[in-house]
Structures are given as structure tokens and as C-alpha cells.
Symmetry: C2
Subunit: 327 residues, 2 copies
């Protein structure tokens, strides 16, 4: 068992008050350079560590943010995790991290965050019940949905304007005179998949052009299977729009395995712009989600809730990037 | 600011002692079912949350493990992170997560872990100075390197037996009568790249067969570039062994872009068995790192250090998996 050196011992040996020791270890607190040096030397000598947890009981601030994530196989969320961790670190927050294995965040996982007194919770790609949102509200812990939107939940939400983005993609496809148009959905109970479908399909519905909708699940494997099946039924689409990049990559590889020429015979479009989409072998045309902007907005909303209550919905735009899978 | 309900208030209203309330919220503690129910009801009513941080000051246990990771682009580490988080959760630990942007873990990042009184630290793919290891030792915080080994550091280490694995791969290549043999390294200052090179190259050195060594950096892009350059110099290897899967996939795509037939003209072998390697478009032959076993060993070593001092080095074996990029 380690012996914990207290601030009192450091204060005594450095011949300063305990509050001076405390100020030396509080970012931004005022203390003379000479005193600071002396305290740091004594702290080093005694192997003293300021205790963030003990401090949190006094300041009521833990500087911890809980982050819950589900889709371990989607590279989009790895990029998201990296950006969140770095941006939160730059603001002095630590990340308490939970991978959830369930579609819906479990009470037990939220309890875990509550026990550690996190100052805010970010949920990326899992569902949240309104029960849990109410419980968090009672505990005054702000929660922000990232890349998800649920009109029934009274919490912050940051996502891409998926309806508009998918509408723009539809316009682009339309000007290339496509007739056989396929949309592969993501997990159908997610707002991202629903909104992208709505924006894309409604555009063509208004023009009386049918869209073939295939039920995917945001995985490469499922999209590969669905596309292979299409080609084996002798249906070669003019364009396939996948609800995310990993779906589009699965479709693209299935087309290649059936020796369908991309983009000459079939065009493929994704959504996200994960790093892999720009690999030379893929060169996928896709919608760029502005992840940095989305992460900044998420942190801004969490911090806003430290000063005021209420919740906000933020939609960011992004842009289409044309690579080699579209004409 | 939220009002924090104390265990005393719960005890009073439930008409039990404070220690009974504490037992109800301590996993495994003895308390009658009837009392447990009454306490839980009152806790719910008062919106009481047991405070892990306050408890940690008494028990000296935070149940937090610090996890530091660097390579955000390598899918191998995303799989590793998912498995660590789930296995640690099952044992009652939380994960305090840090992405490090530097080759070597910085003192500041370690301080962060120390401030939160983590019970152990796992470092995946970053370097650690012996200074920091000494400081952690003085603080009695066990540290385990995952997928790294450094004979100069006095800390636990869990990795694949890379030398033996690469030696087995060399044997396999040798029985296929290859002459033009290429090894693309990872980051050359990592133990994984050094050991895989040693095991592979030494096998052929003993037989008087030269191996062309290209300096990669564990990225897809670098391997793609190096392989493309080789082919453009009219050097078509019989086999390319990449120091990890993402390297092998870069090489594979470069070969395809130059219309080199795999495995007929050039075979490709990776190391890791990331999920992407079994995608139908890749079907990469590779060495399977037994991630689950490696994670279990890492946690076991951290927990061992709660009872005894000293450090251990564990090497696990893994196995070769033959897919479609080798004959």
C-alpha cells in the first residue's frame, strides 16, 4: 500500500501555508515564481501528488467527462474518439470511457458515470431512454448526443444536417441521368440512417423516380452481401448510395468482385469521409462530415450547461467530395 | 450546482445505520434482501448516488485504470481498446483514457493518471522513459506495456512472441521457393518491428538468402508508396511480408494498382489479423495475434502487482492463417 503524502507535509517543509501549496497545483491560481519553485522542489522530494479526487470533493469539480460509444468496427468513431480525447485534454478534462455492447445505453453504465461525478456525458452511437435523460437531469449532469438526434429526448444534440446532405447527393446523382438508383440503409433505428434516407428518397419521389432501398446495418459485410446478391440477380444499378462510408466500401468491393466497372457501369457514394475512403484503391466519392466542428460544438454545449439549463440542437453542414467512384 | 445527498440522509430515512447504506452499495457485501430493498427505495426517492471518489479516499481504491494509446489510424488498436474496456468493466474497473500525440509518453500525461489515483497503467503503442517508470514505481502504481517490450524498463510487458512468429512465417515462405523476398518494416524504433525483422531476416541469413528491407512506418500510405516504387523500378518480388496488416494491405493495393497478380506473381503476408484482413477484397494471409489472451495477461499482471512487487514479461504465441494472398 502506498503512503500518501499530504499537502500539509509539503507546506510544513516548504515553510508556506497549505493554501499556497494548493494554489501551486491549481491551474491559473496566483503565486510568486520563487514560492512556486520552492513548493515544487519539496513536492518532488517528498514524492507528493496533488489528488484530483480529494480536490473534487471540495471544488465539486472532477474535470471528468464520460464518453460512451458503441460501434467498435466503424473507423469513423475511432477518428471521433481521438479528436474528442485531444480537444477535451486541451481544455483540462479527462475522459472516462465506456464501450457499450447494447443498442441502448444501460442504467448500469450511466450509474458508473454518476458514481465518478462526471461533469458531462457524451453519447456517440448508442440509444438513450428518456428515463435515463430524466435521471441525468435530476443529477444536473448535461448530456449531449453526438451524430444522433432524438426529438423525444430533452438533451443536447450535435449532428450533420443529414437531410440536406442526402438531398444534395440526390441532386448530384440526378444531374448524371441515373435511372437504377439504390440506397443501402444503415441501422434502421438510427436517426442518421433515417434522415439520410429521407433526404435522398424524397428528392426522387418528388420527381417520380423510384429508389430501390436495401436494408443494411452500417457494416461492410452486410453491404458486400446485399450488393453481390443484386448483381447475381442481374440487376446492375447506375448508382449505389451507402448510408455511411463503410457501407459504400462494402458495395464497392462487391461490384469489383463481380467485375462491374466503377464509375462507368455503377457509381458509388458514401457518407462520413473516413480516412480509408481516400485510399488509392478506393477513392470513394462521399459526404465529408466536419468532425472537428461537431466535436467543438459538443464540448461547447456541455460547457454551456455549466452556466445555464435547457438544451440545444445543432446541425452542421459538411460538403460533398468528388473522387473516382462517381462520374 | 447540484445538491449532493449524503449516505447519512439515506440511513436516517431508511432507519438503518450509515454502514448498512454503505454495504448496500458495496459489491459483494453482506446485507439482508429486505434491508437492501428498503435502502434502494429511499436512495431512489432522494436521488442518492454513492460517490466512487469519496469512497476511494477511504478505501484507497479508485477502481480506475489509466490506458494510453497512440496510433489512432491502426484498426488493431481499436480492437484492443474495445476488448480492454469490456474486460476491465467486467472486473469492476473504469478506464481513464489518454490518446498521446507524442512518440514517448509525456510526464504531463502520466501526472494526469497520478492525480486521479489510477490503480494501474496500460501503455499500448507509445514509448516510456525509464525516468517515468521509476516515478510510477515510487508511487506504487504498476504499469504494463501491451504489445511492446523494452529490456531496459523495469515494468511488466505482454506481447506476441514476434521473433518466433516471424521465423515461422519465414519457414512458410521458404518452402514455397521464393527468391525475391521483401520485408517492409514498421516504425523502426518499436520492439514489434525490430523483433519481426529479426525473426524473418535471420532465418534467411542462415540460409544465405538475401532479404530486401524497406523502411515503412506502420501506415497503409507508406507501404503503398514503397511497393509502387518497387514495381516502377521493374522489381516484382516473389513475396512481401509487411510488419503489420495495414502495411501489408497498402502493399497489396499497390500491387493491384500495377496489375501484379496476387498470389501468382507476388504473395503478401501481414501481421495482426485485423478484421479488415478477412474482407473478401483483401483475404490477407497473416499472423493472428491472440488479442484476448494478451489483454487477459495484461490485466492479470496489473492485479498481481496489487499483491506483490517485481515485474514479468509474458510472450504469447498466436498462429499463421493462410488466406488468398499466399499460395
Amino acid at each position: 500500500m502506498k503512503r500518501i503524502v499530504s499537502a500539509i507535509e509539503v507546506a510544513r517543509l516548504a515553510n508556506v501555508s497549505q493554501s499556497t501549496v494548493s494554489r501551486v497545483f491549481t491551474p491559473g491560481a496566483s503565486v510568486s515564481e520563487k514560492t512556486r519553485q520552492r513548493v515544487l522542489e519539496v513536492a518532488e522530494q517528498l514524492n507528493y501528488q496533488p489528488n484530483a479526487l480529494a480536490r473534487s470533493l471540495i471544488t465539486k469539480r472532477t474535470n471528468m467527462i464520460g464518453l460512451a460509444m458503441k460501434d467498435i468496427q466503424n473507423p469513423f468513431y475511432h477518428e471521433v474518439l481521438g479528436i474528442f480525447t485531444n480537444k477535451l485534454k486541451a481544455k483540462g478534462y479527462s475522459v472516462l470511457f465506456v464501450y457499450t455492447e447494447n443498442e441502448e445505453i444501460q442504467q448500469e453504465e450511466i450509474n458508473h458515470f454518476l458514481e465518478y461525478n462526471v461533469e458531462g456525458i457524451i453519447i456517440t452511437d448508442a440509444m438513450l431512454s428518456s428515463n435515463i435523460v430524466t435521471k441525468l437531469k435530476n443529477n444536473h449532469i448535461p448530456v449531449t448526443l453526438f451524430n444522433r438526434y432524438d426529438k423525444n429526448l430533452e438533451c443536447n444534440s450535435v449532428s450533420c444536417d443529414n437531410i440536406n446532405a442526402a438531398n444534395e447527393i440526390a441532386k448530384y446523382v440526378d444531374h448524371l441521368y441515373c435511372e437504377k438508383i439504390v440506397f443501402i440503409t444503415g441501422k434502421i433505428n438510427t436517426s442518421t440512417s433515417q434522415e439520410r434516407q429521407e433526404g435522398f428518397v424524397n428528392y426522387f419521389k418528388n420527381k417520380g423516380i423510384p429508389v430501390e432501398i436495401l436494408e443494411g446495418d452500417y457494416t461492410y459485410e452486410r453491404a458486400f452481401f446485399l450488393t453481390k446478391e443484386l448483381i447475381e440477380k442481374d440487376y446492375v444499378p447506375d448508382v449505389i448510395f451507402g448510408a455511411n462510408d463503410i457501407t459504400a466500401l462494402g458495395a464497392l468491393d462487391a461490384l469489383k468482385s463481380k467485375e462491374i466497372k466503377v464509375p462507368e457501369q455503377t457509381m458509388v457514394i458514401g457518407f462520413d469521409d473516413i480516412k480509408m475512403s481516400s485510399w488509392p484503391n478506393y477513392n470513394l466519392s462521399t459526404w465529408v462530415q466536419p468532425i472537428e466542428e461537431m466535436v467543438d460544438e459538443t464540448i461547447r454545449l456541455l460547457e454551456r450547461n455549466q452556466r445555464e439549463t435547457g438544451h440545444k440542437t445543432v446541425k452542421v453542414q459538411g460538403k460533398f467530395i468528388h473522387r473516382q467512384t462517381t462520374k
